[in-house]
């Protein structure tokens, strides 16, 4: 049995279920208690679990991130709420130098079971410091797992798996999707980290879309269907680990691939996935692998400019059409 709930509710349910199941799970961050965060994702949790486990902090991201690392090393399983993905820069030392490396540097003696929940996504008219999609930064760092839920269903299943994981996991939720509804099982379920999903099958081109860009790929596939082009849509769900098998299997079948992701294109997730396809499925390809990331500019405020920076279904469909028809996308 499923029912339609919002991504926000899915996150809330995942946390509530895990906090009920495991006393050591705590929430920590700015305005996570009574306020339930600015996005109201955590509303109601403090009423059930109390301020001992739903901990409001001062505005001190490196501080509460570091505290969470130490707490995770000593028996708690903190879920850290980082209000905006843009604030990742503030916690980088504690996340990347401490949390990510502790298990390795200690030869496996210490581990850091924590979840860092944060968000990504532009077009909310929030300008350059509240709109970035910075998942590539952390996916670059060995020792961190990175999840990119693309609907309420993934948000709940991946978060529950992340909370039970014995390693630091960073989850990026698309802040524009918090109110989007999707069918979510009533029964408990987990989505293992490292398993991609094929959301739509098609023979001619593979559209790989992460998080917010999954919907863009699905819409592009509909546009392409009307043109008589069959597109396959793959959602990696997690960047680390990355389910190469599913991605490469799809590309070997379709011989064409477009990778769509809301992080900046340069040196980003699209580049990484495209490179792996080029290396490992080269002899199956009929066309170059196309990367479509966010435009490599700081996110502008004006709607007239901001909308230009994010891949659109029309843009993805246009590139797919060109690939399928043998028209060079990047003509010399």
């Amino acid at each position: 049995m499923t029912r339609d709930i919002t991504l926000s509710q899915a996150v809330n349910e995942a946390i509530a279920e895990e906090m009920r199941r495991d006393e050591t799970v705590i929430l920590i961050g700015e305005d996570v208690a009574e306020a339930g965060t600015p996005f109201k994702v955590l509303s109601g949790l403090v009423e059930e679990f109390g301020t001992d486990r739903v901990i409001d902090t001062p505005i001190a991201e490196p501080g509460f991130m570091g505290i969470a690392v130490g707490a995770a090393m000593t028996g708690l399983r903190p879920i850290v709420d980082l209000m905006f993905g843009d604030f990742l820069y503030l916690v980088m030392d504690q996340l990347c130098n401490q949390a990510a490396k502790t298990h390795y540097m200690s030869g496996g003696k210490l581990n850091v079971p924590l979840v860092l929940r944060t968000n990504l996504g532009a077009t909310r008219r929030s300008a350059a410091q509240h709109s970035q999609s910075l998942h590539a930064l952390v996916a670059h760092i060995p020792g961190l797992k990175v999840a990119m839920p693309s609907s309420a269903y993934e948000a709940k299943g991946l978060l529950k798996a992340a909370i039970r994981d014995d390693n630091p996991v960073v989850i990026f939720e698309d802040k524009l999707m918090y109110q989007d509804k999707a069918p979510v099982p009533e029964e408990e379920y987990l989505l293992p980290l490292g398993e991609a999903a094929i959301l739509r099958e098609g023979p001619e081109v593979t559209l790989i879309g992460t998080s917010s860009m999954r919907q863009v790929c699905e819409k592009a596939a509909e546009i392409l269907e009307a043109d008589g082009i069959g597109a396959e849509v793959v959602d990696p769900r997690t960047l680390v680990p990355l389910d190469e098998g599913t991605i490469l299997g799809s590309v070997r079948k379709t011989s064409r691939a477009i990778v769509v992701d809301e992080g900046h294109q340069n040196f980003g997730v699209t580049a990484e996935i495209a490179a792996r396809i080029s290396e490992k499925a080269f002899y199956y390809l009929d066309a170059p692998v196309i990367r479509m990331g966010a435009m490599d500019v700081p996110v502008p405020f004006s709607p007239a400019l901001e909308d230009l920076t994010v891949p659109t279904p029309e843009g993805v469909a246009a590139n797919a059409r060109a690939l399928v028809r043998g028209v060079p996308v990047h003509a010399p």
């Binding site: 505290i67 130490g70 707490a71 090393m73 708690l76 030869g107 098998g245």
Partner: protein, 339 residues
């Protein structure tokens, strides 16, 4: 000998032995570096022994510490073995971290050592988080965060002190003020007073002579007990001195620190010599007994070095192990291989 001193004789001798062990460890580590037998470099704790030993004597194995790049002393004082420490310094498989951490990352969770840290001030959050765990899980342990005077310039410490004070966490911030951060004198980088900084958060602060192991131990025993009663957090500033350069390769250092100053500290304020004299004058030990301790530990350290030099390096297959808990080899895992 007065009765309380007699009762404490065992503890006194333990502290003496621990200080001598740290000094012996560092002398050997320095020699390994000078003989090009140690990969990389290391930061000597010599001169500061009374701080680590005085504090750790006040702690149990259940109590936690976080340590620094200058961490061998903390590690040994918290109970680590010479042999496994030398193995780690030399990158050997038997080392505390299987050779993956080295001098600046030794962790020994069996004795509550949550690890040294090569980011100056980087462990302030970890120590405070360990204290949060103690409080939340109803455990009665205390966490001591060791850091240098240089680390007091990092913002993280102020953020976590604020939270520790707000939440009354059982943590002691122990600042080893050895007068220098790298090649810079503390006076040039610290405005105002360090104790006042902690006091600004409503945290009780103590200044202690870090060369006097008994003074350090007395203060930390009281503060640890008060932490256990929910009266934490606390701050200790321990005045101390490092004998060597910033690291083993920092040999010509006249430009920031005079030889006279170094000689004065070594002659007048050596924590081991002074405590040894006190043990003699109080009749806790005889000269012969102290000499025996020194030579026994010297032999132990020499044997540990021999052992570590002969010990095997980790197998190449280990290079992508221990990246993730529960994952045997990280490389195939990250490319989607099912576990």
């Amino acid at each position: 000998m007065p009765r309380d001193k007699q009762a404490n004789a065992e503890a006194y001798l333990r502290m003496y032995r621990q200080m001598v062990r740290i000094r012996a460890f560092e002398d050997n580590a320095n020699q390994l570096y000078l003989n090009a037998k140690m990969p990389g470099l290391t930061h000597m704790y010599s001169g500061q022994e009374a701080v680590a030993v005085g504090i750790c004597e006040a702690l149990t194995d259940e109590d936690r510490i976080t340590s620094t790049h200058r961490g061998h002393g903390h590690c040994l004082a918290k109970g680590a073995e010479l042999k496994l420490m030398f193995c780690e310094l030399l990158g050997k498989e038997e080392g505390y971290c299987r050779g993956k951490g080295g001098s600046m990352h030794i962790a020994d969770q069996a004795h509550g050592n949550l690890g040294a840290n090569a980011i100056v001030g980087g462990s302030a959050g970890i120590a405070t988080g360990a204290a949060l765990s103690a409080k939340r899980l109803g455990r009665n342990y205390v966490t001591v965060c060791f850091f240098g005077d240089g680390a007091t310039a990092q913002g993280l410490w102020y953020e976590v002190m604020n939270m520790a004070a707000l939440w009354k966490l059982p943590v002691i911030y122990a600042c080893e003020n050895n007068g220098y951060s790298e090649y810079t004198s503390t006076d040039e980088v610290v405005a105002g007073s360090l104790t006042a900084r902690a006091e600004a958060f409503g945290i009780e602060a103590h200044q202690v002579d870090g060369q006097d192991v008994l003074a350090v131990n007395k203060c930390s025993t009281e503060l640890a007990e008060r932490c256990r009663r929910g009266e934490g957090p606390f701050f200790m500033e321990l005045e101390t001195y490092r004998y060597h350069g910033h690291h083993v390769g920092d040999i010509n250092r006249d430009y920031y620190r005079s030889k006279e100053e170094e000689a004065r500290w070594k002659a007048d304020r050596d924590p081991i010599i002074n405590f040894g004299r006190w043990l003699l004058s109080e009749g806790v030990a005889t000269k012969k007994e102290l000499v025996a301790i020194d030579s026994e530990i010297g032999d132990e350290a020499a044997a540990a070095v021999e052992y570590a030099l002969a010990a095997p390096y980790p197998d190449a297959i280990e290079v992508d192990m221990h990246v993730f808990k529960g994952v045997e080899h990280a490389l195939p895992y990250m490319s989607g291989a099912r576990q």
